[in-house]
Amino acid sequence: MTDQLKIDFEKTIKTSAISDSDAKLKRNFLNKFIANGFPSKKFENWKFLDLNQIIKKNIGELSFYNDYSSPSIINKSIFIDGLEHNRIVFINGRVEKINFDFEDKDKIKIIENSKPESKLENDNALINLNSAFIVKNYKILIKENYHLNKPLIVYHTTNNEIKSKNINLRLEFELEQNSALRLIDFSHDTSENNFINIFYNFDLKKNAILKNYKIDKMQNNNIKYSFNNVNQNENSISETFILSAGSNFLKNEINCNLNGKYSSAFVNGIFTLMNNQQHEVRTTINHLTESTKSFQLIKSVLGKESKSVYQGKIFVDSSAHKTDGYQLSKAILLDETSEFDAKPELEIYADDVKCSHGSASGSLDENSIFYLMSRGLNYKQSKELLINGFLLDVVEKITDVEIKNLIKNTIGLN
């Protein structure tokens, strides 16, 4: 793999207009990645799902060079109906369109940038890979006091022109004081056996509000990794909702740094998996100053031969008094071949805090099924009703009504 990486890297550098100094930076990131390769269960964060093995088993040899010289045709039929929105369209990793039709053009700035930066304290192999291969990345700046009229939908689409490829995507967002953004990530894949590596960086200034909804619903055979790094200032709010259901493998990581007083982070997620799917959500919420709040709720419904993992960490710095941190993960195992693993972690260095976590997993409650059947529902209906109720609890946490309805329709909950 190392040879392939090096060849593809040189080719990527040669075919793009990257300055020598940037190329040098990128080469550093590449070498860092090569040192350990794809993360395996040797690393604590990958203990439950071993990406190295999964890539070997499902893809085999990956190639890393992508020809982004010519544009692809956008298939408009995939766009979400019934909800007016701004859009960014990625096709096979290339940005094909950025469109803010519904917004005041002066209030949004799109900055093109080729400098690879990581901005992360901890070394992350996959972000190093991303930094090495990303050729062009965009930063979206929302100016002071501006609330976007319509949500922004980022379409992550792939088609059958790529196979056994690694594609890297990256976006950066800066929300200035009192601004607000609703962001939906929507995956649409007709490709197979690719490794898709997404990195988002968010900077939330005072009073900014970010709502990010990640929808992975369409069945596909790709392996995906997505990392959100969120830096939050005073009184800012971030809300993340994850629907994890479509891809063969998907790991969502959310890293929130609550740097400002009264800032808060909410992470909610749903897994509905079957047929060998393996999905994970890993969250790290860093409470770095006083009076910050976090809330997490993750629920899984696991069918045949599927596995879901939740690793959640609440870190409380010694200066972070009056922290309120909460985590709950629940799973329903529907089949004897399904598996749920959890590692809800608390790391606390301050005494005036309120932190708790809970985790529960098991089968559907037979008594509840009996109750419903005795009132005239058949077994299948009873089961469905219970599962829907179980998941609806998380969907109801979505604060945006329009998007809540969209997601309810997507999952088929009403």
Partner: protein, 480 residues
Amino acid sequence: MDTREKDIENLKDYKYGFSTDIENIRAPKGLNEDVIKFISNIKKEPKWMLEFRLKAFERFKLLKEPDWQKPKYPKIDYQDLYYYSAPKSMKDKPKSLDELDPKLLETYKKLGIPLQEQARLNGIAVDAVFDSVSVATTFKEELTKQGIIFCSMSEAIQKHSDLVKKYLGTVIPTTDHFFATLNSAVFTDGSFVYIPEGVKCPMELSTYFRINASETGQFERTLIIADKGSYVSYLEGCTAPMRDENQLHAANVELIALDDAEIKYSTVQNWYPGDENGKGGIYNFVTKRGLCKGKNSKISWTQVETGSAITWKYPSCILKGDNSIGEFYSIAITNNHQKADTGTKMIHLGKNTKSKIISKGISAGYSDMTYRGLVDINSKAKNSSNYTQCDSLLMGNKCGAHTVPYIKNKNFDSNIAHEATTSKISEEQLHYCQQRGLNPEEAVGLIVNGFCKEVLQQLPMEFAVEAQKLVGISLEGSVG
């Protein structure tokens, strides 16, 4: 001075901090085959035992010291330790307590361990281990009548060779992790218990460990076998003198419960924790593992961990037999610069197995406390369940409390529930107590004892009183 103040006075000096001036026999410094042969030879062990040790040592040479734990410690030089140290007078083992070195008896008297049977207070059978050897076992006769074997490990290797050979290393194999393997190679003594079929042990069995000599590691090995339908409750206590250097304690404890048997294992660990600046103290790196081998068997661990500079242990249960039960009750208290990384592993293999984990962590001063636990329900462990509750209490903001549970559910018939909370003693609670005439320290003692009640209840009577006091004393000076 009332008793409580006395207790506090005692604690300030760590009342077990004296050392006894006794002539010692030591193995040459360092770790090599010759030292292992020396140990095996001096204990007059059969050949298979020496082979067991050497096999472990071969394996040990290949292993790397683990470093994933939360409390880090300076590198230990394993060649700079004495692996065997024994009071000289023990060379030709005394036949009765009368022949025991009076200095040793005095030591145990200071520790409050009733070695002399006539001086017994409550009829607990005690096996006392001093550095590397077991010095005395009390109440032997009464136990022998019922067919119970309770003796030192060395004696068991010679006299009950078949039993030891059959069970030793079956729960913690010689191929286990770094410290367990080191123990398999160099263990010196410990206790051996065998409860025959259908016997309920009439009294609490107890071992008292004491590290006396300097630059020694203590590597004891305990093996408890409860045959079909039997019951035993076993207590363990530990102390060590105050020394500036850190001393290593790496024991292995193996429990085996056959069909319908029950083992209750309680520990009050009060090794020397180091001074208030974190100098000295014991590294308590212990491997404790119980195997519920038979159907309907039960193993219950209860621990009160107040001592040691670093505590790093996970008393575990392997629930192999159908309907077997594993329990873990723990109070861990760290103060000053103490560090603890402790918890349990519950491995469910058999059908209808149940486990329960109650862990209470209290950290004060500059200390750091981690609960780390694993609950693993195998795909064959149908209809199993686990309940875990871990609560932490923080005092001051220089200390840390962490919870790291690993939960694996591979069985759709099984249920796992986990809860954890972290909090501090609220001003309201303190105010309420003080209003009713308690001083702040008494109030904290009361609240903390209430916080720990679920675990303290599990301890045998005699231990519970001691533990309750210890809980209060360990936190002295942490309020205000």
